[in-house]
């Protein structure tokens, strides 16, 4: 069989025929033609991917282990290999540590807060509010499609210390509001508040979709068994929403770790670097022309994104061992009645 198939091109030495048999079959004219066609089909994507994704990723990896700076623009290969020195510079830089702490603060407070608020709104829209629900949906989604620059101007007005709306309202209750964006304590909470408001809309839509998959029958049955609203939420709605929660957690986590626009337009990282995020520091470092160090920082941030995603999957993800934990959850619900 192999003899007929190889008849076209060069004859192999007899000794190798046996070991080469599978390879010969693989390069049959038909297969070859097919694989050429396949590569042809895939080529447009492959070319775009290699040029615009793989190449930049590889070159940034290359940059992160060299001492490349802006003066090396004309001959980027004439730089010195410095190994992991950039990474140790980054990790021991107090400014980077500060930025990492700020980013962590933002993520740890911001992500759960966004998910909770979005979930509450989605539940309210799904069950409670039937009238005007379209209006509310539009209202909550609006911030997502609004330009951050326009939003920033409005929020700066709201947060103004003397005649901003927020402090005005606080004043009615006799509370002297702080200088939100000018205080090292309150600048970050202000930005978290704004980001939660901005990213709420997407999650509300996702949760609303997820809520459609919660079986009505279960709710009715457990209501008959005497489960109150809270018990039904905990034991029926939340477990069913688990995959949706995972998705929400992952995309919000990734988005929040790359926290950049808010400090960029609102505080420029101030006051006293209290809102400087890692992404903002990377932007600045690239701006200063320290491409090597900035690339190393980007990889540290990338590692953090991967880590957070893994944690998300561990905490919220579907367990592989059958529907074990989930079923138990249901059973426990039954037991509670």
């Amino acid at each position: 069989m192999s003899a007929t198939l190889t008849s076209g091109k060069g004859v192999r030495p007899p000794g190798t025929a046996d070991t080469a048999a599978p390879r010969v079959r693989r390069s049959s004219p038909l297969r070859r033609r097919r694989s050429i066609a396949a590569w042809g089909m895939a080529a447009p994507f492959m070319v775009l991917f290699l040029v615009f994704t793989a190449w930049p990723v590889l070159s940034s990896l290359f940059m992160s282990v060299t001492d490349i700076k802006s003066r090396d623009l004309q001959n980027p290969f004439a730089v010195d290999f410095v190994g992991l020195e950039n990474f140790s510079t980054v990790l021991s830089d107090p400014l980077f540590q500060k930025a990492a702490f700020n980013t962590l603060y933002f993520v740890v407070v911001g992500v759960p807060l966004t998910i909770l608020v979005a979930l509450a709104i989605a539940l309210a829209l799904n069950t409670g509010i039937t009238k005007l629900s379209g209006f509310f949906r539009v209202g909550y989604y609006m911030p997502v499609v609004t330009s951050i620059v326009a939003v920033a101007v409005v929020w700066r007005f709201l947060l103004q210390p003397e005649n901003g709306l927020i402090n005005e309202v606080l004043g009615w209750f006799g509370i002297q509001g702080p200088d939100w964006l000018g205080s090292t304590t309150w600048a970050m909470p202000s930005l978290i508040m704004m980001s939660v408001w901005r990213s709420l809309g997407t999650l509300v839509v996702i949760f609303l979709a997820g809520l459609q998959s919660v079986p009505k029958a279960l709710h009715e049955a457990s209501a008959l068994d005497g489960a109150n609203a809270w018990q039904r939420l905990r034991n029926i709605t939340l477990p069913t929403l688990r995959p949706t929660m995972l998705f929400a957690g992952v995309i919000t986590g990734i988005g929040f770790l790359q926290f950049f626009e808010e400090p960029f337009v609102m505080t420029q990282g101030g006051p006293l670097n209290s809102t400087l995020s890692v992404a903002y520091l990377i932007y600045n470092t690239f701006g200063f022309g320290n491409y090597g160090v900035a690339a190393a920082m980007s990889y540290v941030l990338f590692a953090a994104v991967v880590l957070l995603t893994v944690i998300n999957f561990k905490v919220l993800g579907e367990r592989d061992d059958a529907a074990g934990p989930r079923r138990r959850w249901f059973r426990r619900a039954g037991g509670a009645s």
Partner: protein
């Protein structure tokens, strides 16, 4: 399996090759800094020019006067937005696809000159002595000039005349003590803040450095090899600057966009800024408001000093039409042309003799800028300057807002500047 193994071996080989291939040569860009002569006798061809902002819009039409004199030359101006300009020029140098001439912000000079993209200024064509010394200083990187100053701006003091009169203090403080007295006086006369000085954040160094220079501090030693932030003069300036905040004369936080309305409303007695504020104040306070404002040169301590900014014109090393490019740059720095350019755009001329005629000579307010220009200084044109300026902004903010010890701040700036290096 075998295929993947083969691919990984290949990848490894390529990477090793790439890594062994790299490594710095010994020649730095600043070394071969001898300028070749320019032959301006027969000019022809096309000169492409990049310019930013208002300059980019106005230059095309303005250059027609040059092409009338040199009919064989065409000037092709591309307007580049300021936001994109830095990256566009950097990319152009990297790809070696440069225009002939570009406008360059003064603080970018160090970076672009050391990248080897700019052509050293031919001394036989351009006469250094016709420019303000501060402006010329901004073109020099490692002792060689890589551009020609085009227009300049400098900082002076804007004082509310009525408030100063009411308080019985001089609106033109001559010394540091006078400045403090004027600010305090205006505050007692009813202003919420005696003076507004930027307390940190982006660009605060431009407000602070004049004080340092006035105290006699220098940022680097004369041959630009070492930083000298850790000097008693620098600490003295920091201490003086801090006193405005410690004594509650200047606001630690001034929400963005409130300076002008507050100044117009008499809540702020004085501030330090550049020529553009004449227009802004007229816009905020109504036509003619500026007449109620006194423009004063910055006070002196050991000496007079201010900050000089503006833009330079540089010719690229790989310019296709080098002779005509330099001729065009030279033409733009002729005194009459500079005066015409001022009439067109209100850009203050970098050439001293352009100030001797017309509006520039007769306008009182402009005269203050002209006078200040003679003592204005530029930060060192080193590639790492933006990064060091950012360090100054951060430490200055700590000094103003948290009461950090000025000596400590100076030491911190010095240490960080040393670890950043000059980049030359």
């Amino acid at each position: 399996m075998r295929r993947t193994a083969r691919i990984s071996v290949a990848a490894l080989a390529v990477t090793t090759l790439a890594l062994t291939a790299c490594g710095r040569g010994d020649d730095t860009a600043t070394e071969d800094a001898t300028a070749a002569a320019v032959d301006t006798s027969e000019l022809s061809g096309n000169v492409t020019v990049w310019a930013m902002g208002t300059e980019g819009e106005a230059l095309g039409e303005f250059a027609e006067a040059f092409t009338e004199e040199n009919p064989d030359v065409t000037i092709d101006v591309t307007a580049v937005p300021w936001d994109a300009a830095h990256d566009k020029i950097a990319t152009a140098i990297a790809a070696d696809e440069v225009p002939d001439v570009s406008m360059i912000g003064t603080t970018w000079m160090g970076e672009f000159a050391t990248s080897g993209g700019l052509d050293p200024t031919p001394p036989d064509l351009i006469d250094e002595s016709t420019f303000f010394p501060g402006a010329w200083g901004s073109t020099e990187v490692g002792g060689t000039s890589y551009a020609v100053p085009w227009y300049v701006e400098t900082r002076v003091l804007y004082v509310d005349t009525a408030l100063a009169e009411q308080a019985g203090v001089s609106p033109t403080p001559a010394t540091w003590d006078d400045l403090l007295a004027t600010s305090k006086g205006m505050q007692t006369a009813g202003a919420q803040w005696g003076i507004s000085l930027q307390a940190g954040q982006t660009g605060a160094w431009q407000t602070f450095l004049p004080f340092a220079w006035q105290a006699g501090a220098e940022i680097m030693n004369s041959d630009q090899t070492e930083f000298t932030f850790d000097s008693p003069e620098f600490v003295k300036a920091l201490t003086f600057y801090q006193s405005f905040f410690n004594e509650g004369v200047a606001p630690k936080e001034l929400p963005e966009g409130t300076l002008e309305p507050d100044f117009v409303a008499g809540k702020i007695g004085a501030f330090q800024s550049g020529p553009w504020h004449i227009g802004i104040l007229d816009e905020t306070g109504g036509e003619g408001f500026v007449d109620t404002v006194t423009l004063a040169p910055l006070p002196a301590d050991e000496k007079q000093a201010s900050f000089i900014g503006g833009s330079n014109l540089a010719v690229f090393k790989s310019a296709e039409n080098r002779d005509a490019a330099w001729a065009f740059v030279q033409w733009l720095s002729e005194p009459e042309v500079q005066a015409d350019w001022y009439a067109q755009t209100s850009d203050l001329p970098a050439v001293q003799s352009a100030w001797e005629s017309g509006d520039l000579a007769s306008d009182e307010r402009l005269a203050v800028f002209g006078e200040q220009m003679t003592t204005a200084q530029a930060p060192p044109a080193i590639p790492t300057w933006e990064q060091i300026a950012n360090v100054i902004d951060t430490e200055l903010e700590k000094v103003c807002k948290t009461g950090m010890d000025p000596q400590e701040a100076a030491t911190a700036i010095q240490q960080q500047a040393e670890s950043i290096g000059t980049g030359l």
